[in-house]
């Protein structure tokens, strides 16, 4: 991990110094334990701030999209001759590169607008899991050493097996290494346990419709409609989200249970074939809504129905923007 970090800093510094990137999006040390928030580096000297560890959570592709679309907007006001190109460098693990691929599939920007600093990934620590493991005590310091997370609380030091603290999506990650990159900053990381990829979906499918509905209802009742999930998601980049459209108004904005359900249902559905299971939405949710249970279902169906995995190849079209003659038709109703 340390080697990756050193290499990352070197490469980032070089990219900026050689003007091959105008800005680099990466992670830096946070002010609280367990957090390595996104940072934005423009000065080669600041590349020293970059970190790479198990506390790097957010999918940075979101910021790449933001930066490039803001830049494009700002260029519109200029005369063609005065327009400039902006290249964004990004520290990207497997899921981040999948989001970048989705952006490319959906023609959000060009491949040469980005420089991908690929990093091998072995998963990140889920803060909520840690809080639960530590049972309400405040974590004052945390670091990863080998297979454990070392945690300091007021009561003393504790060692927690990393496996227990990793986010669910990381534990079952199929693409923990970058799928596309311009520079790789380390060797490929060992594979995670993909056998469990759809375990929770399979288990949920076995429940009765009413049991499933009750679970959905209970989870959605937690939602406070802050839209943090949407804002953190690299695939949610609509300029105006349907939930905020007023003409027509698709969903009410109040605390009505059905409005929240419909908002969540439709946002989740927009992820069909586009969710890379990066876990950003889950990490940011202030209320701990179990979104992954539903997102993985879409993932599973996409694979079963259309042999589609989100964000694998930039040359492939978006799943719902394409079709094959061979697409299954068994859901089509035929009267007897």
């Amino acid at each position: 991990m340390e080697n990756v970090e050193t290499k990352l800093r070197e490469e980032a510094k070089k990219l900026l110094a050689e003007k091959k990137a105008d800005i680099i999006v990466g992670y830096e040390k946070g002010t609280l334990p367990l957090l390595a928030p996104p940072c934005f580096i423009t000065d080669p000297e600041d590349a020293e701030k970059l970190v790479w560890n198990a506390f790097c959570v957010q999918n940075l592709a979101k910021f790449v999209h933001d930066l490039l679309s803001q830049h494009r907007e700002s260029q519109k006001r200029l005369k063609p001759a005065d327009r400039t190109k902006k290249t964004v460098g990004v520290v990207a693990r497997g899921c981040t590169t999948r989001s970048l691929v989705i952006h490319l599939q959906e023609k959000q920007y060009n491949r040469d607008d980005i420089v991908i600093l690929g990093v091998p990934c072995t998963g990140y620590v889920d803060r909520k899991k840690m809080d639960a493991l530590i049972a309400g005590e405040e974590i004052l310091e945390a670091s990863v050493a080998g297979d454990s997370v070392l945690v300091k609380t007021a009561a003393g030091e504790r060692k927690i097996p990393l496996k227990e603290a990793l986010a669910d999506n990381c534990l079952a990650c199929r693409f923990n290494n970058p799928l596309i990159s311009d520079l790789m900053t380390g060797d490929h990381a060992p594979a995670m346990d993909v056998t469990q990829e759809y375990a929770r979906v399979d288990e949920f499918e076995k429940l009765s419709p009413d049991e499933r509905w009750n679970y959905f209802t209970r989870e959605m009742d937690k939602c406070v409609r802050c839209y943090a999930c949407r804002n953190a998601c690299p695939s949610c980049y609509c300029k105006v989200c349907f939930v905020e459209q007023s003409q027509p108004r698709w969903v009410g904005i109040g605390e009505d249970r059905s409005d929240t359900q419909v908002f969540q249902l439709m946002r989740l559905f927009h992820m069909a074939g586009r969710c890379v299971d990066c876990g950003s939405c889950i990490a940011v949710c202030p209320m701990g809504v179990d979104l992954r249970r539903f997102l993985k279902k879409l993932d599973k169906d996409a694979l079963e129905l259309f042999e589609h995995r989100a964000g694998i190849s930039p040359d492939e079209p978006a799943m719902l923007g394409a079709f094959k003659e061979s697409d299954k038709e068994d859901f089509i109703f035929t009267p007897k």
């Binding site: 439709m266 109703f333 009267p335």
Partner: protein, 149 residues
């Protein structure tokens, strides 16, 4: 759930979102041919099933439709060549997803009816009406307006 128990004399309200070129014409043919079918369906005509945002379907359920039927041209017969083929992918995903969160599978039905299939249209409506009637009134996703009460 108690809200799903059919009330005596209750008849389902079904929203049918149909394409202009095939199914709507098929419905027309059923009318002209005086083929009887249940009157529980409100038809919404759209240019093509490709025009149907899956949100239309969810919105109909939220607003209190007991069932939603979507029908367009048979594959290969789309007036816009491939509109129904891309629509098909969305519907396949949506139907499964709705069922996954616990909305009964028969609340949303998808089918193809061509302009010449007046008889098939009537059959579809009969079958869908029967299926939704068997399910009883919709309860899930329906906006109950609890704030208003």
């Amino acid at each position: 759930m108690t809200e799903n128990q059919p009330v005596e004399g209750w008849r389902p309200r079904i929203v049918a979102i149909v394409c202009n070129w095939c199914t709507y014409a098929g419905a027309d043919l059923a009318g002209i041919s005086r083929i009887q079918y249940p009157p529980n369906v409100r038809i919404i005509r759209v240019p093509c099933t490709g025009r149907i945002n899956p949100f239309f379907i969810v919105k109909a359920l939220q607003e209190g439709a007991d069932g939603v039927l979507v029908s367009g041209c048979h594959p290969g017969e789309c007036h816009y060549l491939t509109g129904n083929l891309s629509a098909k992918r969305k519907f396949a995903m949506l139907k499964r997803f709705l069922s996954y969160i616990g909305v009964e599978g028969d609340r949303t039905m998808f089918t193809w009816v061509s302009a010449s299939e007046g008889e098939r249209f009537a059959q579809v409506i009969k079958a869908v009406t029967a299926a939704v009637t068997a399910l009883g009134p919709a309860g899930k996703l329906v906006k109950k307006w609890q704030l208003l009460r």
